[in-house]
């Protein structure tokens, strides 16, 4: 395979701009480019952009599946914010995100660093770490429900043999343990994705930087802090927001493992959206939940972008 030096990722290649002369940069040229972009833009507009805008609009109406909608102003938002279930869902979603994202990001990075070392068997380890990614969420949920089974589960068998007092520890049936248990499952399921992306990033960092640092007497930690971390900047910009968003969107795992229980301790925002929209058929209020979810993830991401920009 040939060696392709990539353009600096994240920026558009300026060389292109230089080689294209002004004669080519005509309306004709623009038209060719737009032709190439049309298929993407059509699907994107029809199934993402328009629905997103429509969702904002719908959150101010009382849409149902049938019947005519009317404008209700901020009613959907006030009833959403007055709903105890909404706040519980929001709290749970935040705790879940707080539990999973740091491990998914730092753990993914740690695994990538480990698998990038010259160790025997690292390819097997990498593959095994990535395999859960190929398992669908309903299977993940039911598999871990079996592992967490209070009386015959795998986890309690080993817990019981190490600490006999914890032999019948409730996991998914306990208000305190259910959410952390779902978080552990999620970390197992998702960490491989972040690992792969960081691993790809690590392989882009020139080895000479490390050699030069070693000559200058930099410690392993210093090399990590001043070469590895900044070298992965673009990966952080991708991995951190995507991990936050996917954790904020948690639904499938709880749907199969706990169905939001016990006593709502694993009830999440997307479950709230689903139950408002499809069980109670309040499409307007469900849209309001969707708008809220979008606003929250957007705020998070903007903060992260700013933090990352000032840090590196």
């Amino acid at each position: 395979m040939s060696v392709n030096t990539p353009a600096r990722p994240g920026t558009l290649n300026r060389a292109t701009a230089r080689t294209v002369n002004s004669a080519q940069s005509s309306p004709n040229r623009n038209r060719t480019a737009y032709m190439f972009l049309v298929p993407y833009m059509v699907v994107f507009a029809a199934f993402l952009l328009l629905p997103a805008i429509a969702g904002l609009f719908m959150s101010f109406t009382n849409w149902r599946i049938l019947g005519d909608p009317s404008w209700v102003g901020l009613n959907n938002f006030t009833s959403m914010f007055n709903d105890k279930m909404f706040w519980q869902a929001f709290r749970n979603t935040l705790s879940f995100t707080g539990l999973t994202v740091p491990i998914l990001v730092a753990g993914g990075l740690g695994l990538a660093v480990l698998y990038n070392m010259r160790l025997r068997g690292r390819v097997i380890a990498r593959t095994v770490t990535f395999i859960p990614y190929a398992i669908m969420v309903t299977v993940v949920g039911v598999l871990w429900r079996w592992i967490y089974d209070q009386n015959f589960g795998l986890l309690n068998f080993y817990m019981g043999s190490l600490f006999p007092a914890l032999k019948a520890m409730p996991w998914l049936t306990s208000v305190q343990n259910a959410l952390p248990a779902v978080a552990i499952t999620t970390v197992w399921w998702q960490i491989g994705t972040n690992m792969i992306i960081y691993l790809a990033g690590l392989q882009e960092i020139p080895q000479e930087l490390y050699e030069a640092a070693r000559v200058d007497g930099a410690s392993a930690f210093q090399q990590f802090r001043f070469i590895t971390l900044p070298g992965l900047r673009l990966m952080h910009i991708f991995v951190i927001p995507m991990s936050v968003i996917s954790s904020m969107r948690i639904f499938g795992q709880v749907m199969v493992m706990t169905n939001g229980g016990p006593i709502g301790s694993t009830y999440t925002l997307v479950q709230h959206l689903y139950s408002k929209g499809w069980i109670n058929q309040y499409m307007g209020e469900a849209s309001a939940v969707g708008v809220f979810l979008f606003a929250i993830t957007l705020t998070f991401t903007l903060f992260q972008m700013r933090a990352l920009r000032s840090n590196t």
């Binding site: 199934f47 859960p132 969107r249 689903y274």
Partner: protein, 291 residues
């Protein structure tokens, strides 16, 4: 002092390597346990499923559970085929629209390029759940969801415009040397010809990565198919399995059969994935030097 320094370093290095191997093996084992446990449970006769102490290798291995799973849930096969079809169609369409768009972004100079690029990346931040309600209402009011064909189309099209794929391919296309393209242009090749005959054939790993990525995203997609599909004809595997797994109470579950069903759903994608994962890693690393 100076004499002992090298030996000290050697010992320290030895500890470090030891610790690294310890971590490597430990993590691999922990990550592998759930999957191995799934297969181990599936291969066990029902009376040995709920039994302590745990036996990793069942005494008498049986395939009875697989037969039972297929007998008790005959729709499994249909769900599986639906999922495979929907995911394959999504992946193919995704690669097509992403690769076309990426060519414009990576190789052509046009008015509004930066805006389009940033705008597309920003859409990765929209949680699809926020678009789900209006999309569902629109499709249902337009009476698209009354036919099976309409449902399949609604399962596929919303996930086709894949910003990550577009980004990945744009990056990859930018790395392809210009000279081939210039030569082709001299010979009077059109942009479409360059895209088809030069860019695409040189982008194998990146295209494979986007294929796998969108296939997996669709294959794992849960909530949207769960909402959209009401019958076994159109149900995808995750949505179908939820109808089996969601309702069962923990005490009555026959985990042998359930794990057999889960294993049947999991084995094919794992095998395909193992076969292709090399390209996946290569494609993401965007350079293509590790081949």
């Amino acid at each position: 002092m100076q004499l002992t320094q090298p030996r000290l370093n050697a010992t320290r290095r030895w500890y470090k390597t030891g610790a690294a191997y310890f971590l490597l093996i430990g993590i691999t084992v922990v990550m592998a346990i759930p999957v191995v446990w799934m297969f181990s449970t599936a291969l066990r006769p029902e009376e040995f499923v709920r039994k302590y102490p745990v036996q990793w290798i069942p005494q008498d291995i049986t395939f009875e559970n697989f037969k039972l799973a297929l007998d008790s849930y005959p729709a499994l096969v249909r769900w599986f085929l639906n999922s495979a079809f929907v995911a394959a169609a999504t992946a193919a369409l995704s690669v097509l629209v992403d690769a076309l768009g990426a060519y414009a972004l990576a190789r052509l100079e046009f008015f509004g390029r930066r805006l389009v690029f940033i705008g597309v990346l920003a859409t990765m931040l929209i949680p699809v759940e926020a678009t789900m309600v209006p999309l569902y209402l629109g499709l249902s009011r337009a009476r698209i969801l009354v036919t099976d064909f309409g449902i399949y189309a609604s399962l596929i099209l919303p996930v086709v415009a894949n910003a990550f794929g577009l980004y990945l391919l744009t990056q990859f296309f930018q790395g392809i040397p210009k000279d081939l393209e210039d030569a082709a242009r001299m010979d009077g090749s059109t942009d479409f010809g360059i895209w088809w005959r030069i860019i695409l054939p040189l982008s194998g790993p990146a295209i494979t990565a986007v294929l796998i990525f969108s296939f997996m995203a669709s294959w794992n997609n849960f909530l949207w198919p769960f909402i959209l599909t009401g019958s076994d004809t159109t149900r995808t595997l995750p949505a179908g399995l939820a109808t089996i797994f969601g309702g069962i109470s923990p005490s009555s579950v026959r985990y042998g059969v359930v794990m057999a069903g889960a294993a049947l759903a999991t084995l094919p994608p794992i095998l395909v994935f193992l076969a292709l994962q090399r390209y996946f890693v290569q494609g993401i690393s965007m350079t293509g030097i590790k081949g």
